[in-house]
């Protein structure tokens, strides 16, 4: 392990665009793979909460929206970024709340 650490450190310090792209592509493909493996195990009856839950997670674009809006770099960019924050947060909050509502109904009733 210690053998590779300097290599990794070096590659990040002077990362050329192609190497950076391939690093993100690696992350993308591996995450896709994990997604396929995990999600094929979700039973059919939970597919609606799965859809709305994953929908909430696609609101992760809020992170991008915050960085680009918070930078206050240009007026136009900030306005677009602010809209992105609002839209992404609708997606995030709506998605998690609605998923919770659905999952609550699958719980045994306490009455």
């Amino acid at each position: 392990m210690s053998l590779f650490l300097p290599l990794i450190a070096d590659s990040i310090a002077a990362e050329d665009p192609a190497a950076r792209f391939i690093r993100l592509l690696t992350v993308f493909l591996l995450a896709m793979w994990v997604g396929f493996e995990v999600i094929t195990k979700v039973p059919q009856r939970l597919h609606t909460p799965l859809t709305s839950g994953s929908n909430a997670i696609s609101g992760i674009t809020a992170v991008g929206a915050i960085v680009v809006a918070g930078a206050l770099a240009t007026k136009g960019g900030t306005l677009l970024g602010f809209l992105a924050v609002v839209l992404a947060m609708i997606n995030v909050a709506g998605g998690f709340v609605v998923t919770h509502r659905m999952l609550e109904m699958f719980q045994p009733k306490k009455k």
Binding site: V92, G95, L103
Partner: protein, 478 residues
Amino acid sequence: MSSQAWINLAYLLAAMLFIVAFKLMTGPRTAVKGNYLGAVGMAIAIIAACFEKPVVESMTANGSWPLIMLAIGGMIGGGIGATMALKYPMTGMPQMVALLNGFGGAASVFVAGAELWNASAAARPPADPLAPWTQFAIATALTGLIGAVTFWGSLVAFGKLEELPQFKKAWTDPNRHWINIGLAVATLLLIWGVCANPSSNLLFWLLVVAGSALGCTLTLPIGGADMPVVICLLNSYSGLAAAAAGFVIDNSVLVIAGSLVGASGLILTAIMCQAMNRSLVGVLFGGLGTTATVSGDDIYAGKVKSASSEEIAMVLEGADRVVIVPGYGLAVAQAQHAVRELANALEKRGTTVEYAIHPVAGRMPGHMNVLLAEADIPYEKLREMDDINPTFPETDVAIVIGANDVVNPAARTDPKSPIAGMPILDVDKAKTVVVVKRSLSPGFAGIPNPLFAADNTLMYFADGKKAILDLTAALQQG
């Protein structure tokens, strides 16, 4: 450790929480926890984003104003989202998810658009334009396209599912394939344009417009019964748009979360297509492509037995085991509470009642389970197709409510049928089959159903909800 390292660590934690969240979605008890962990992961990622270098630098220059603005935006969005989620009825879940999905797609477009706006302003073209064909340029183009298709496609899907009058008829203009091809060519040219000349904001927004048009023209022709596929596909797109936005701003948590959602949507799309025995290309580009060659009259002539609620109640009185098969029609008639009443009446008499759920029952994947769960029907009684099919020979009565093609035995017996090979619920193997239906009209596939003419089938012609209420009343009197 630098602050960027801490931020990246927080992103890593968030990404792992997302994966655990999906993992916990495999069981109804653990899924609640999974959803919480997903929300925690999102909160961590969002807080970490507020410490990113551009935000911190702008706060040093502008005071706390950027943070206040972000908080206002977050509260507006979060408030709208949470209110929508709490107010919407469960039958409306598919359109609610479609709408939220669309907002996610639009957010990704705006992230890419904002980033491009800032970058092109900083690069001061034309003296020092942004380099062409970089990761930034290509990812910006793709985010704009996928996000726009997601947003407009989702809005159209919402309109269709909400049954807005403008969307009542599927758009079947014979020239639509040419329009789509034209839009596709324009889109490809604009992608090339944005990649080759990334400093131009105009080209990017033209691409967004083309993508928007494409999102509409691709979704408009798709019929109501194919909506589960569309919802899954748009869900996948919204994830891919977020992942593409991750490539724009070099952020791995966007790439990870986006690709997880992309994968999830693609799997569900494949499952839905398989359950409907249709190819994805078939769903997207052409009606069903088959014309019914067998007329229903030949199959049904003289063989269909119609029964009254009293007669059916008598059959039910003698049953030990009843399986209810709810379909799309039950969701439309909103009869899920009435069904629960009927099951209660039967269970009081000592009858075992279970529910057979076909994968495409309802308007989005798994929708029927949510509707029945809302009517307080215990989760354990909702059985999946492969699980319940072997039990039909031991079932005394199968009650089919608002389902047609998914119980058509022609799928199993007639290799020439358009639905040959489609997985179906084997209700015809039950001792008696009761079909609640308005008329003998064919289902979505447009083909007659030999089940209706079978010796062991009783047809009960009525509106789904009224039929079940009458049946329950007859059972309680008898």
